[in-house]
Symmetry: C2
Subunit: 287 residues, 2 copies
């Protein structure tokens, strides 16, 4: 049976016991509503560690006032079944009071790499992420923590916080897991109606086409982006927050295509906001 | 000989070795220019721990553009002699590049308790403190860390950060060490000329008088504060940033004198800003 703990004190007791036994611990923070993408993070943790701790916490601090905190999918029993089958050793599922006690007043913020993409369309989101992930890392004190490439800007923010604050953990990024038609797995895919679900695959298709054309030099970023925006609109996307090529490390606009870059998209199908991203290899330097 | 390390990696190696040997570690963060106040923090650390690590880092991030970062007293050789005599086991004295590597972008901020007192007169100061102290704690990972009551608002900010971010350390506050005439020891006392040094004692005298009158009911906060401001001006203080009674825990204005409160002062003698504070016991509840 998968052990479930609700308090930081019991979480630490268990992790301490494993550490004293010389075991390495991986942490997989989630907001629940688990899918194969999350479980791939668990497998990734297993590869380098003896124990995997998963966390489920729908963090109110990373939702804006008009966002979907209230309706975000929740179902602990199903999640527990999946985590147990994936070989997770411990689930930490605190309530809001355990995470944000009375007079909670501290915020972890990251500048620069949060000034674009989801940082613009979701104000306060990355402050909420940086703060709660700092807390989870310091509560569990794992050797490694695993996050998905799907939320690539979030992954960069977490790497930056960990480096800047000297949090003693290795951050591992794991490849995005996709449906057959390419749609990136996301808990929010559950919001999509049948027609929207079919339209949704256009997001990854547009990213893939643009990335390939840019990589090979068949197209330039500006024209490829414009074409992708048109395709997405034609495919039924009702609003596009961004579709941008950015430096894979700094997230600065990718002007020099001889560095690795990444193509990022966020777009809406009705009331559902989807995000995705793909890598764009550096172009060969011309002779 | 006192070992001096300059990098986080060597600091952690030494602390890890002690921890594996079952020893407890105390951290005493300082900005150098050490005096008996700092050494009392070392002694406090010694009381509960096997090893004491001191840090010296004049943190640029906690100085405002018009403040005294450039002229802040520095003298590592003298400091090393004092730390060694006090029984410190290790000195961590990093340079700015080790603390703030390229593209450093993370900030730890605390709201509420930073919106008054030094938070008003030194904008950005507590962000700088919260960030650098978080870093030092996570770099060294001590069992306890010791800070002085002299910087009482700073002590509260650090306690809040540690609780809110779940940094695994116990914070100990140590009593203010004073000169014979009551002046709180401070590295900045070195800025005072001979006449100013004599005038400076009025700060603690004013605090003590007002605190006693408020505690005993001989005077009310408003009248006591007004009297203290006048005494300070008469004693040669050229500017008073604040002289205020506040709740000892929340720093809210102390309206209910049946809770422990604290009297805080910051005032200038010429170009030197001095701060001090004293406790004000709760008044007995009338029958």
């Amino acid at each position: 049976m998968l052990d479930i703990v609700r308090t930081v004190a019991t979480l630490r007791d268990q992790v301490d016991e494993w550490r004293r036994a010389g075991q390495r611990i991986a942490l997989v923070p989630t907001m629940g509503a688990l899918h194969a993408g999350h479980l791939s993070l668990v497998h990734q943790g297993r590869e380098t560690c003896d124990r995997v701790v998963a966390t489920i916490f729908v963090n109110p601090a990373q939702f804006g006032p008009s966002e979907d905190f209230a309706t975000y999918p929740r179902g602990e029993a199903d999640d527990v079944t999946k985590l147990e089958a994936a070989g997770v050793d411990l689930l930490f599922a605190p309530d809001v009071g355990e995470m944000y006690p009375e007079n909670f007043a501290t915020n972890v913020t990251v500048s620069g790499i949060t000034d674009c993409l989801c940082g613009l369309s979701r104000p306060g989101f990355f402050d909420g992420v940086a703060t709660v992930v700092s807390k989870l890392l310091l509560q569990a004190l794992p050797d490694v923590a695993v996050f998905g490439d799907k939320d690539y800007q979030q992954l960069l923010v977490i790497r930056r916080v960990v480096r800047d604050l000297n949090i003693p953990v290795d951050i591992i990024g794991a490849p995005t897991v996709r449906e057959q038609d390419g749609l990136a797995l996301s808990s929010r895919n559950a919001y999509l109606g049948t027609a929207e679900r079919q339209q949704a695959a256009a997001l990854f298709r547009s990213l893939g086409t643009a990335a390939e054309n840019i990589e090979t030099g068949r197209g330039e970023p500006e024209a490829e982006t414009a074409a992708a925006l048109q395709r997405l609109t034609e495919s039924g996307f009702t609003k596009i927050d961004y579709f941008e090529l950015r430096d894979a490390e700094t997230l600065a606009p990718a002007v020099n295509l001889q560095r690795p870059s990444r193509l990022f998209a966020a777009a809406w199908l009705g009331a559902t906001r989807l995000i995705d991203n793909v890598s764009v290899a550096a172009r060969a330097i011309p002779n």
